[in-house]
């Protein structure tokens, strides 16, 4: 084995020695090997990038194809038919999802926005730190746990399943999501705006609600919409609270149907007709959920720019 230390440099007008030539060759080989390895690893990473975007395209394309095939006007206007009968729609489930999401927002948005404001205004206080951390923890909590919690504290004492309990479970899920985005957005409001309002004699509460919150509104709306999109697709918190309903019902004290619940029921059923309805339901749910998410991005991009100039 020759020594790894480089030989002395080739002098001017001298011919390289044997050892010098061998060293140069070895160095060239190493560089080549490193370059090849580099190219190989970069292609692996690019392949991984392609592979990571593939599932979305595959899943979406399949749902689009299956869903579009079984989607009809009846789907939006008719009620579910008993198993085994053809036709029918999911009118009650669509309305149910809208009502449940509305209850969730009414319960979850004020609390989430309030908690976010608190965190933003009390930056490093102990409660603010705790709220921030616990919101993140709460955010990662399995939704089924939220479901059995709502069952235990709402359904069990009331003695029956109800839309109210389902909406409350969804609302509780919104709180940590909305709190975190609200805080983030409020912190982007320049302090000068706050100081200007205070200097004009505005009370602190009025500054917060009419100046700070309003300036941050575009971002907060976006955060709220992302949270809405997420709870609209949730099934697990509704399984033992809203339960689902085969009939038309808009009573908040009765069990209520929801799109995700119907998709679940139909997906595990034995009838082809119900499978078709499940695909159509999935398509509608996806359009609803992705529609809200994409719209949310759009809101930030357009209103966010204008809002900063106000």
């Amino acid at each position: 084995m020759t020594s790894l230390a480089p030989p002395p440099a080739v002098g001017l007008g001298q011919r390289p020695t044997q050892r010098q030539r061998a060293f140069a060759e070895r160095a060239a080989r190493t560089v080549r090997r490193r370059k090849v390895f580099n190219a190989a690893m970069l292609s692996v990473l690019s392949l991984a990038a392609v592979a990571a975007t593939l599932p979305l395209i595959v899943v979406l394309a399949h749902i689009l194809r299956m869903g579009a095939g079984s989607l009809s006007w009846n789907f939006f206007t008719q009620m579910p038919k008993p198993a085994g009968e053809t036709g029918g729609g999911l009118a009650n489930a669509i309305v149910g999802t809208l009502i449940l999401v509305a209850i969730g927002s009414v319960a979850g948005l004020p609390v989430g926005i309030g908690a976010g404001l608190y965190c933003a205004e009390h930056g490093r206080s102990r409660l603010a730190n705790a709220v921030r951390f616990l919101s993140d923890v709460l955010n990662g909590l399995p939704s089924i746990v939220m479901g059995i919690f709502a069952w235990q504290v709402l359904v069990r004492p009331m003695g029956h399943f109800s839309a109210l309990a389902g909406g409350a479970a969804l609302g509780a899920m919104m709180i940590p999501m909305v709190a975190r985005t609200t805080e983030e957005m409020v912190l982007t409001v320049p302090n000068a705006l706050r100081e200007a309002a205070l200097a004009l004699g505005y009370a602190r509460w009025r500054t917060s609600l009419t100046v700070v919150l309003r300036t941050a509104s575009a971002g907060i709306v976006t955060g709220a919409m992302v949270a809405l999109a997420r709870i609209a697709g949730e099934t697990a918190p509704l399984l033992f609270t809203a339960l689902g309903n085969q009939f038309w019902s808009v009573s908040l004290r009765q069990p209520m149907s929801a799109l995700p619940l119907q998709i679940y029921t139909y997906a595990i059923s034995a009838y082809d007709d119900q499978h078709a309805l499940a695909w159509a339901g999935a398509l509608v749910l996806i359009v609803l959920v992705l529609g809200i998410s994409v719209l949310a991005r759009f809101v930030t991009r357009t209103k966010g720019g204008a809002g900063a100039g106000d």
Partner: protein, 325 residues
């Protein structure tokens, strides 16, 4: 008003008392809202613990280790569900982590700028698809695909059946199916955290490596990844937290059987899917309490996992803001 003012709105009353009263109400309100978060978490813990207490008291630690689950005989052990939860999550992470890291590194290190936004958007969108929709896709696309050709191919053509991991009949509905579905679902979480962390690695770190003659890959390997390591681990643990608690999609493809099987082809159960599947049919109070106890174990597990993940990610972001200041 004699002088014309630019503002159409009358200025607010300037009495000190009025202002401080309003401030007190406002502060009280947002403090109450903020308190909702810890109170909610505590309420969840307490309510589920109380509901699960009868089963926990009756079976003690054996609840975690016993694999008997017989509602008729009143025997409940959560071992198969805990095992299934851990195994399906492990499969999910094993598949999702390399892909998520790959796409994040691609975006942060050498993708053309115009590709960054759209690719990141597509990956993030994976997280927006509802769990039940993944389940539907799993039942009608993934399971038939696994039944043939994937499972027979793994078992017979590649002769992996001998390892015991890929043996037994190819039903489709299995631990493997749950792991695959989960991997798609946790991918966006790992990817978005590691992307943020990689974006936060200072330029100087990369430039130094390149200036020393490193190739791009060597730069990634020796300068970028070590800097971002704890944040990436945080992202993976965050993904683990998601995988542990995913309910609907897993329930629809895992086969739902209380069984401790080594083979990934065998049907199994996860904690979340036991609850989803049996809760509404719970035959007696002890069964219900056992399900609540499973929920409590799941709650504690995800709580710990999430706390660790958040702590790791925070560490990195604090260090990043520290160097920027």
């Amino acid at each position: 008003m004699t002088a014309p003012t630019a503002s159409t709105e009358a200025p607010p009353p300037l009495t000190i008392e009025g202002r401080s009263r309003g401030d007190a109400v406002y502060q009280g309100a947002i403090t109450a809202f903020a308190l909702c978060v810890p109170v909610l978490l505590a309420a969840i813990a307490i309510a589920i613990f109380i509901a699960g207490w009868p089963a926990l008291r009756q079976f003690g630690l054996g609840f975690l280790t016993s694999s008997a689950w017989d509602p008729v005989q009143g025997q409940f052990g959560a071992a198969p569900a805990i095992f299934g939860t851990l195994v399906s999550s492990a499969i999910a992470l094993a598949i999702a982590t390399p892909l998520a890291l790959g796409v994040s590194l691609f975006l942060s290190e050498f993708s053309p700028l115009w590709l960054r936004q759209p690719v990141a958007f597509l990956v993030d969108l994976l997280a927006a698809i509802p769990s039940v929709v993944y389940g539907l896709w799993g039942i009608f696309v993934l399971l038939p695909l696994l039944r043939s050709p994937v499972m027979p191919f793994l078992r017979d053509t590649l002769h992996l059946g001998a390892t015991g991991l890929f043996s037994g009949p190819a039903y489709g509905a299995s631990m493997l199916a749950a792991g695959i579905i989960l991997s798609i679902m946790v991918l966006p979480y790992i990817a978005s955290v590691s992307r943020e962390v990689l974006y936060a690695v200072p330029r100087s770190q990369r430039e130094a490596a390149l200036a020393l003659g490193a190739t791009r890959w060597e730069m990634i390997r020796q300068a970028v990844l070590p800097y971002a390591r704890s944040g990436i681990i945080g992202g993976i643990i965050l993904g683990l937290g998601r995988a542990l608690g995913e309910t609907m999609a897993v329930t629809m493809v895992i086969g739902n059987r209380h069984e401790l099987a080594l083979s990934l082809f065998a049907p199994g159960y996860t904690m979340a899917s036991v609850i989803a599947n049996e809760f509404s049919e719970a035959s007696n109070d002890l069964h219900l309490s056992a399900l609540m106890a499973v929920g409590f174990v799941l709650f504690v597990m995800t709580l710990i996992v999430n706390a660790i993940a958040r702590w790791l990610v925070w560490q990195v972001s604090r260090r990043a803001s520290g160097t920027a200041a």
